[in-house]
Symmetry: C2
Subunit: 293 residues, 2 copies
């Protein structure tokens, strides 16, 4: 199939690579220089988003934020107003669910389908083709997108209609961020009270406090290994999206807001480009607790 | 062995029952009327804490709060100043780790060992003898307590010295409370944004957001089944202990404090005696979201 892929960065490049390896003719736009190897492997470079749309039946977007998606869809040389053959837009970026519902309207009016399908699993999952994909869209559009999703991911869920994939991703980032913060408070408490955080973490695994975050990020906090992983700066962006959407929905999310503020502080004091488990350094900073590592 | 057990309520009663079933002679004080069957099954009633201490080699406490433990240890007819044969006090109540370290000093000066060993797993775990036990104390005292712990629990960890068991329990309650709050915010966001919370929860299981809390309490939130379980009112008590201890330690725990405040609100608006998963009703209340159930 002729597939368009706009946005080949850290995540998009291995995802587009999976599609090329899967036998698709992939038309690329916005390929970062260090991912030029996609062209050697058979990817076709285009000069504009519009050109991608001209040459592709389905166009996938994997872009940094809501504004980027809006400009590729509706800007000059954008794909939304472009004539066929593109019949389906799949936005795999992580952006606002509220904006996504608006974005889908104009293509829909012209008979072009729209599926939002943000992912989790990071660069590792993208390279292995094992991303979790949370999709929103009509059943028919989802069915058309599914064979492409299956090249890129493993846990693929249609959450509901357009926007619901982004909603699930925001919910995911809220839970992950606030659980990391919770474990950071708990382990800092343990240390301040004179216990060994490693022992406390062990005692808590297997009970109701157990989670993937306690397993993975709790271990990083104990061992003080904060190489990303997923950077605090990026998680902060996701919680800011949650807070923006909450404002649009007249919704009060107190701990999401507080945690986003703590991430602002974390960027200010240093570990913004460390793994999000380094949020514990901000909790320590609040009480002037010093560490060697 | 002659074992004392002070505090036979919802948790203490089945725990003492396990010791009786395990062949120990159990001397009881503070048996609630509805748990009188312990006496029919071989438990011996005493008239004071001091009498329990006179008759027992090891005395176990399972009491509601820090003040109760203090009064049984050091009040009139208390056990701490009482002559042998009691050589070990095991406090299985969930109380302040800071107070625990002070409480252990006076018995220690008289050669009486002290182990703090709060539990998690609730009434179900107590009845099944499968509690998680988080213990603090010397290796020798822990070794003496272990055969009794093995009658009552399954995951038994010596976290460290005296007080470290209570510290682990507080850390546990912080993580559990804040994770419940996080999932409540995430599922409320999902609903407000127009997605189905049940579908969002499903999409998130298996990824980094997955936890025992998302599995169990997330399901209760989706199905609106809030029978306790563990009551918000009791979890609020535990977070208040965390906040008290944090003040004594000059430690700042912003989301623990905020979540304790939300639990105050939950008690005010209604669901204080529902399962702690009903904290979602407070998150909904903040934005005037109404539910049928």
């Amino acid at each position: 199939m002729q597939v368009g892929f706009i946005g080949s960065g850290v995540m998009g490049s291995p995802m587009a690579g999976q599609l090329i390896a899967g036998g698709h003719e992939v038309h690329l736009y916005r390929v970062k220089a260090r991912h030029d190897d996609l062209l050697d492997r058979g990817g076709k470079r285009c000069d504009s988003a519009a050109q991608v749309a001209e040459r592709s039946e389905i166009v996938i977007l994997m872009l940094p934020d809501t504004d980027d998606v809006e400009s590729v869809l509706f800007g000059e040389e954008g794909i939304a107003d472009h004539p066929a053959p593109s019949k389906l837009v799949i936005d795999m970026s992580s952006i606002s669910p509220v904006a996504t519902k608006q974005f889908a309207e104009r293509p829909a009016a012209k008979g072009v389908g729209y599926v939002d399908a943000p992912v989790s699993g990071g660069e590792v999952g993208a390279k292995a083709g094992t991303l979790s994909i949370m999709a929103g869209g009509s059943e028919a559009d989802f069915a058309r997108a599914l064979p492409l999703f299956e090249k890129m991911g493993k846990n693929i869920t249609r959450v509901g209609g357009v926007g619901d994939g982004q909603t699930a991703k925001v919910a995911n980032q809220i839970i992950v961020g606030l659980t990391i913060e919770a474990i950071a408070e708990a382990l800092t408490f343990a240390k301040a009270a004179g216990a060994e955080p490693a022992k406390v973490r062990e005692a808590l695994m297997g009970g109701f406090a157990s989670s993937r975050i306690l397993e993975v990020h709790g271990d990083r906090m104990v061992k003080r290994t904060f190489d990303p992983g997923f950077r605090i700066r990026l998680h902060r962006k996701d919680l800011s999206s949650a807070i923006d959407a909450a404002r649009q929905l007249d919704l009060s999310l107190p701990n999401t807001a507080a945690t986003q503020q703590l991430m602002n502080g974390a960027v200010a004091i240093g570990p913004g480009d460390r793994d999000h488990s380094a949020l514990i350094q901000m909790i320590e900073h609040l009480s002037a607790i010093k560490h060697d590592a």
